[in-house]
């Protein structure tokens, strides 16, 4: 165990490392001493990118054409096509068939009764998984009905389902393409990384230009956001199909298409399910933003409630989104699991008949009993006054200690770090990052990092970018410091897995605004509230990957350690931790990505960084600055990704050598 760190070329590596460390220390010293004017790139170096991008988009949306057909007309047609399934689902689930409006409004047919929809969903859950899932479904449905959220929830469901299906289909197709062609993979990977990290507010405005206002624009924006994890998961899943299986397929004379559909995809289903889970979670995570551009539903209820500071009602509507997410996720997961272990014939002919009856009877009855179509308003429950009371109580009784905490953090940690980063000479920060790239990943990593940071510098958003880095770095540090140890601890307690999973899903889909505004009441507008919000959101992947890393340590190794007389601490330090390291580093990567993607939401409580630039340009209706500032966020994310990936590769090499 003692020679775990020894390497064949240990001496040279250590020398190189020392030289780098000295250089880095020297650079840090200069940062403290440099004059203030060095802190931002000179004005002549700034390229007017924002104007060019804005102009290009306006031209594309208003004038450009392909063969005499305007680009905008094509995208409008797409939007109209996308609108159709949403409209039909809405009529079926939420609105019913309505003719006329105002004084002449008549309902030709009611929507499907809530009783029927819930019963059928529970039946599907029962057949796919068992009684547990059926009960979860019933509970979620009852919550939506009794709290008066049903109509909104169905509107949300109607606009979410086409998103999930589209992202799923496109993600699978792109993933398969990337798996088959290495050239395509490199391009797709870069594209997906950018798509995942450019904040959605950046491309919301162009989306509106091309697709018009309304649910279909929300659909396109959501698909862009939710697609990347599906592509990544598909590539990963197809790669993990054992070569023996593929050989077998070849020997039995399968064609290429047959191999794909009959062998590779079915074998890959369990890993595809992870992608599916993320698509569902991210789509529902978008519900709030989608409702800002006309998707309506639960997201709109949340916004409306928060606008009049009715935190309780906002929380209830937010939990409605969580309920939808959990049911959708558990159902699709169960279906995927059954597919992969070849359990078929769970759904019988008779079940179809039962389901049809369950839908028709209550819906038909709802003509006589209107409560079956729309649950009467004065029968609904609400816990809103209670939650509002809790917020008021905390505000009145705990404000002072909390404010002292905020002030101490702000004055002692946050402001100094921010001043250090925004005041440091930009060229040196760039150099330092490039050095880090060199130390971890060699020349290529160094050049890429330097180019990405140079891009940020010439856009003129350097200062804003430094503020973003400061906020993200602090949030990531907190999230990891709490999340990883908790995840590692929870991994060894199987009883905790289910509840932790549910808590994480809730954190990921409960709209951030729901807890952001109460946070503002206690911590005021500004960076501290933003930090709290980012930490809450970014802690989910830290815990998730902490658990996953520990859970997948090969049991033989742990047993071997026990037999050779390791103490529990030694087993953890020298066996479990090294084995889990790659997964943990992936967890760090995802924590960074989530934290960066939250910057835009954090802008809603008054930060001053890239997220704010993006948000403000959306509010002002300027395409250029929004996209360029968004690309700066993506550049920072890519730099973090490169550094972490190189670090992970190094750690994996160490690990491999240690076991060699």
């Amino acid at each position: 165990m003692a020679n775990i760190l020894a390497q064949p070329d240990g001496m040279t590596a250590r020398h190189g490392g020392r030289a780098l460390a000295v250089l880095a220390a020297a650079l840090v010293a200069v940062i403290f001493l440099a004059p203030a004017s060095w802190s931002r790139p000179p004005d002549w170096a700034i390229i007017p990118l924002t104007g060019w991008v804005g102009g290009a988009f306006n031209w594309l949306a208003r004038e450009a054409g392909i063969g005499g057909v305007q680009v905008a007309d094509i995208t409008r047609m797409l939007a109209a096509a996308a609108q159709m399934p949403i409209n039909w689902l809405k009529i079926l689930l939420a609105d019913g068939w309505v003719k006329g409006a105002g004084f002449n409004k008549t309902q030709l047919a009611p929507p499907l009764s809530w009783l029927g929809v819930i019963a059928v969903t529970a039946l599907i859950g029962w057949r796919q998984s068992g009684r547990g899932l059926a009960i979860i479904t019933l509970f979620a449905g009852a919550y939506l009905v009794f709290f008066g959220l049903w109509a909104s929830a169905m509107t949300t469901l109607a606009s979410v389902m086409p998103c999930v299906v589209t992202a799923l289909g496109l993600g699978l197709a792109a993933g398969i393409w990337a798996y088959r062609s290495p050239g395509a993979e490199a391009v797709l990977r870069a594209l997906m990384n950018v798509m995942q990290t450019v904040p959605i507010f950046s491309y919301l405005l162009p989306t509106l230009l091309f697709f018009g206002y309304g649910p279909s624009a929300a659909l396109f924006a959501t698909v862009v956001y939710a697609l990347p994890p599906m592509v990544h998961a598909t590539v990963l899943a197809l790669r993990s199909v054992p070569t023996e299986t593929l050989e077998l397929a070849k020997m039995t004379g399968c064609s290429r298409a047959q191999t794909l559909w009959k062998v590779e995809l079915p074998v890959a289903v369990p890993k595809l399910a992870i992608g599916l889970n993320q698509v569902v979670m991210m789509t529902l995570n978008m519900v709030i933003i989608a409702s800002m551009i006309g998707a309506g539903g639960l997201g709109y209820d949340v916004l409306r409630a928060l606008r009049r500071l009715d935190f309780g009602t906002g929380f209830e509507a937010g939990m409605g989104i969580v309920a939808l997410a959990v049911v959708l996720d558990r159902l699709t997961q169960a279906a995927a699991r059954n597919q992969s272990i070849g359990r078929h014939g769970l759904w019988k002919r008779r079940d179809t008949l039962i389901a049809a009856l369950l839908l028709i009877v209550p819906t038909a009855l709802s003509y006589a009993v209107p409560a079956l179509a729309i649950w009467p308003e004065n029968w609904t429950l609400t816990t809103a006054p209670f939650w509002n009371g809790v917020v008021t109580f905390i505000n009145q009784n705990f404000y002072d200690p909390l404010d002292a905490l905020r002030t101490a953090m702000l004055l002692g940690v946050m402001n100094p770090l921010r001043n250090l980063l925004t005041g440091a000479p930009w060229a040196l920060v760039l150099l330092l990052l490039a050095l880090a790239g060199y130390a971890l990943g060699g020349r290529r990593a160094a050049v890429t990092v330097a180019l990405l940071m140079l891009f940020v510098a010439v856009t003129g958003y350097w200062e804003a970018a430094m503020s973003s880095i400061y906020l993200t770095a602090l949030a990531v540090a907190f999230a990891l410091a709490v999340g990883l140890p908790f995840g590692i601890w929870a991994a060894s307690r199987p009883k905790l897995h289910e509840p932790v999973q549910l808590a994480l899903d809730t954190l990921q889909t409960l709209p951030t605004l729901v807890y952001l505004l109460p946070a503002v009441m206690l911590f005021r507008n500004g960076d501290f509230s933003a930090l709290v919000a980012i930490v809450f959101y970014a802690i989910a992947p830290a815990i998730r990957y902490g658990m996953a890393g520990m859970a997948h340590v090969p049991s033989e190794r742990v047993e071997a350690a026990a037999m050779s007389g390791c103490t529990p601490w030694q087993t953890f330090r020298f066996v479990r931790l090294p084995a889990a390291l790659p997964t943990l580093i992936l967890g760090i990567n995802q924590t960074v990505m989530m934290a960066l993607s939250m910057l835009v939401i954090a802008a809603l409580v008054g930060t001053r960084e890239l997220g704010q630039e993006v948000y403000t340009s959306l509010a002002r209706g300027e395409t250029g600055p929004g996209i360029v500032a968004g690309l700066c966020v993506a550049a920072i994310a890519l730099v973090a990704d490169i550094l972490l990936k190189s670090g992970a590769a190094r750690a994996a090499r160490h690990e491999g050598e240690a076991h060699a």
Partner: protein, 319 residues
Amino acid sequence: MKKLMTSAMLALGLMTSATPSMAFEPESTQTIKLMVADWSSMLIDTEILNIILSTYGYNVETVVADDSARYPGFETGDLTIALETWQTTQDKAFNASLATGKILDMGELGPHAKEEWWYPSYMEEKCPGLPDWKALKNCAEAFSSPETAPKGRYLGAPVSWGGFDEERVKALDLPFEVVHAGTEAAMFAELQSAYERKAPIILWVYQPHWVPSVFSGSFVKFPPYEEACYADPAWGENKSATHDCGKPEGWIKKMAWAEGEKVWPCAYDIVRKFTMDGKELGDLVHEVDVKGRPVNEVAMEWAKNNESKWRSWAACAAN
């Protein structure tokens, strides 16, 4: 099975539906798209317009759009009518869009918009001399927070709303630091927090809005706004700086997609005549925001109580 279901539903539906007598034939079956942003007064008056237009048989749809992001929509015809455009925040963007010739100014809605620095009434004790702005010079400390002390902390609106508060603080030499809230909700969350604890706060408030009706307090009285104040440094208190005055008050206007005039002339006529009183609208907002009643219920109630009024706006549709 499905077929049976739909036909059954259809049959049942036809039995229950009343057949309305429709004398007026709308000029076009194209859908009129009414824009709504996310504040209550606009939701209510737009719902009322929705009731009126659809009663006369127009196809109407309400579309949610962002206050400032609306202009491309109106220029391309994705949005047809908006009942509220506030001079206080949208003046520049509205005029710029008007200059393209693609949108129409449909006249004022009625209520008067005001926005200004605002403080809760319990602050009058801690800062005697309010509402006169000069009092703020001497009691900035009463409004301070740990990170701004000894300067006062003024909570401004979201950056995108503009408002020139940094310039105002500098020009009037006020010992205050401007902190921008990220969103309106975050801004008023802080007000509610301070109000519950009777803690110091001074912030941006506007009306018509529910806040001034729920919380008791007053607007600060700055030297009244004139155009010259924002343009000419020599104007006012500070001879070498602009913005040494309060914020402009102003109209709330209705706007529309210009091409639509040809498609639905009668509907456009109704929109031009559509007006509401500031007090009347404020009461409706109170019903929704403070009492928590649904928007469509409040709007329908107004429509039932004021039927003769809106029927008179729709003279072109009556026959």
